[in-house]
């Protein structure tokens, strides 16, 4: 059934957005660092995946290598450039990472050329899987859902149940405290940034076979990640999860069903002009509503 398929698509998109937003909110929560270039890491994940899969001929191996490469890239970026910006005005972060976006986009253009890349799926991932009697869903999209849920669960366990996670939560609500505890701040920050980069890269490489791998793909989705953080709440990974699923659903279902819905109410031409415009606006309208009703977000982490 179309509805079930779209629901799953919405879930899948939402989970992907969560991976991206989680990395962003972690970095912002712990290091108070606004990273606009997060979308670039997403893009690099996709480009690395397309390249490594083509080199090795093996989808899983290529994906794992891409993940590792993005993690490494994130760590190098943090070490070389970004750590000098900690403690500065957020505006400085925005400008500097904006510069990085420009740099990355051109670097990618230089190395891989202006045309996008394609990442074809191996045969075993293109088969439709029967999830309900009579309802089939592509195996790959199903695997995205599974992997993303696993990562989300892993993230939950790490953040809520381990010592490192405790430091992360403490850092999110009180940055000075973790310094006072004598923890190696620099190492923690580098690791957290690396984790964020890995999450972004994972989202990028998983999305790559579905959308084209192209320059600027990071920016479009980064804005959605921002919207999710605003809706979900300040520094809250749980909030990011809820908001991401919500946003993913609304965006996917809206684009899928709104044109038909509108056609029942308006004339055909009016509907076909209005529908795409309204569908693209839906997520932002949602954000606007949240801002009016609860500006601190739906599930804010800490009351500062």
């Amino acid at each position: 059934m179309l509805v079930v398929e779209q629901l799953l698509n919405g879930l899948q998109f939402g989970l992907l957005l969560f991976l991206l937003a989680a990395g962003l909110t972690l970095v912002f929560g712990i290091m108070d660092f606004v990273n606009l270039a997060h979308g670039s890491l997403y893009m690099m994940g996709a480009y690395f995946a397309a390249t490594f899969v083509a080199w090795t001929g093996n989808f899983i191996l290529g994906a794992v290598m891409a993940l590792g490469a993005t993690l490494l890239l994130g760590i190098v970026l943090e070490y070389v450039a970004l750590r000098h910006l900690y403690g500065r005005d957020h505006l400085d972060h925005v400008l500097a990472t904006f510069g990085l976006i420009l740099f990355f986009n051109d670097a990618v253009r230089l190395i891989w050329g202006p045309a996008g890349l394609a990442l074809p799926l191996p045969a075993w991932l293109t088969v439709p899987v029967q999830i309900l009697p009579g309802v089939y869903y592509p195996a790959y999209r199903l695997s995205i859902i599974v992997v993303a849920l696993l990562v989300a669960a892993l993230l939950y366990v790490v953040v809520m149940r381990t010592r490192i996670g405790m430091l992360i939560r403490a850092g999110a609500s009180n940055r000075e405290m973790i310094g006072a505890l004598g923890i190696n701040i620099k190492l923690l920050f580098t690791l957290v940034f690396g984790l964020g980069a890995a999450l972004a890269g994972l989202a990028g490489l998983m999305q790559a076979p579905i959308l084209t791998v192209q320059i600027g793909m990071g920016e479009n989705i980064l804005i959605l990640a921002f919207v999710i953080i605003v809706i979900g709440g300040i520094g809250s990974i749980r909030g990011a999860f809820m908001a991401a699923i919500f946003v993913g659903m609304i965006d996917t279902l809206g684009r899928a069903f709104l044109p038909d819905l509108l056609r029942k109410v308006l004339s055909s031409t009016a509907a076909s002009t209005a529908a795409p415009a309204i569908s693209s606006m839906l997520v932002y309208l949602l954000m606007a509503v949240v801002l009016v009703v609860r500006p601190e977000g739906l599930f804010p982490a800490a009351k500062r």
Partner: protein
């Protein structure tokens, strides 16, 4: 007291004189390209000046200012498409539409602060981009061609390059003058005070957010004018004008020139756009240089060019 003839003022005076005399230079040397390039620079300088009003003086870091360039531009473009070619109608509509958009977005966004404000203004501007991309009647992604520039009866002919240049320059200088007056008025002092210490201003009796909102609307309106000019300049308007990286460009111009100074954004726009032009002639991959350059500016030259000039005049 600072002497009038300090380095900053001298540089500004030279720049203004240069801008006024530019068409003469262009006519004498026959380099038409300089005239068209600087027309664009002047228009974007006006946009940057409007952003500086809320960023430098108001402390509101908006990452969505390019939306007003689009709104102003589309006001002109859509009206022209529907047969209304008079500038007397198009431009006021551009201003009004920008003001309304700023009012709604501002009222929503100002419920947040800091990074969230940056993200939200970014999101709303991108929303405008997506909406414009969906307007198939008006060209959607491909954009809308404007076959005739705004007409002002017999008063002025915008299709004449030189006349158009001076109209833009008049708008820029007028806009900067207006901003100067606003900044030193009762309203401007309150806005600056709110930037400096909101708690203190609330304590003496000012409703901080209301003043911020009004400032935000003024800024958006001025930028809407820049949008109308830009559409006339390119005889074309498309969603790309509102793409979020353009908002970033405007921010860079403001910071580069010197945030919170009157002529900073103008200098910043000139330097940024000329640099962009020069670099793109050297290499196709100019962003490889521009990107790290931005990083370095942020790390070492936060006061921008006006800041550097100020330091030299004190020394």
């Amino acid at each position: 007291m600072k002497p009038v003839f300090n380095l900053r003022n001298v540089v500004v005076a030279l720049v203004v004189a240069g801008l006024i005399l530019l068409p003469v230079y262009s006519a004498l040397t026959g380099k038409v390209f300089i005239l068209t390039m600087f027309t664009r620079i002047i228009i974007l300088a006006l946009a940057a000046a409007s952003l500086n009003l809320i960023m430098g003086y108001g402390g509101m870091m908006s990452f969505g200012h390019a939306a007003y360039l689009g709104i102003g531009g589309y006001a002109v473009g859509i009206l022209a498409f529907e047969g209304i070619g008079s500038g007397f109608i198009q431009w006021p509509v551009a201003l009004l539409a920008s003001a309304l958009f700023a009012l709604v977005i501002g009222a929503l966004s100002l419920r947040t602060r800091g990074v969230y404000f940056i993200m939200i203004t970014l999101a709303f501007a991108q929303m405008a981009y997506y909406v414009a991309s969906a307007l198939s009647r008006y060209g959607a992604d491909d954009g809308l061609t404007i076959y005739k520039r705004s007409s002002f009866g017999g008063l002025i002919d915008l299709s004449d390059r030189t006349q158009f240049y001076y109209v833009c320059l008049a708008c820029l200088l007028g806009g900067v003058y207006l901003i100067w007056r606003i900044v030193n008025s009762r309203f401007g002092l309150v806005v600056q005070g709110v930037r400096s210490n909101e708690q203190r201003m609330q304590a003496v009796g000012f409703h901080a957010n209301r003043y911020r909102l009004v400032c935000f609307v003024i800024s958006g309106t001025i930028c809407g004018l820049a949008g109308a000019l830009l559409a006339n300049n390119t005889d074309f308007v498309s969603p790309a004008v509102m793409y979020w990286t353009r908002s970033g460009d405007l921010m860079v111009m403001v910071i580069l020139g010197g945030m919170g100074t009157l002529f900073g954004p103008v200098i910043g726009a000139i330097v940024f756009l000329v640099l962009e032009e020069l670099l793109s002639q050297v290499t196709e991959y100019w962003a490889l240089i521009m990107g790290p350059l931005l990083l370095l500016i942020v790390l070492f030259a936060r006061g921008g060019i006006m800041g550097l000039l100020g330091r030299f005049s004190r020394g």
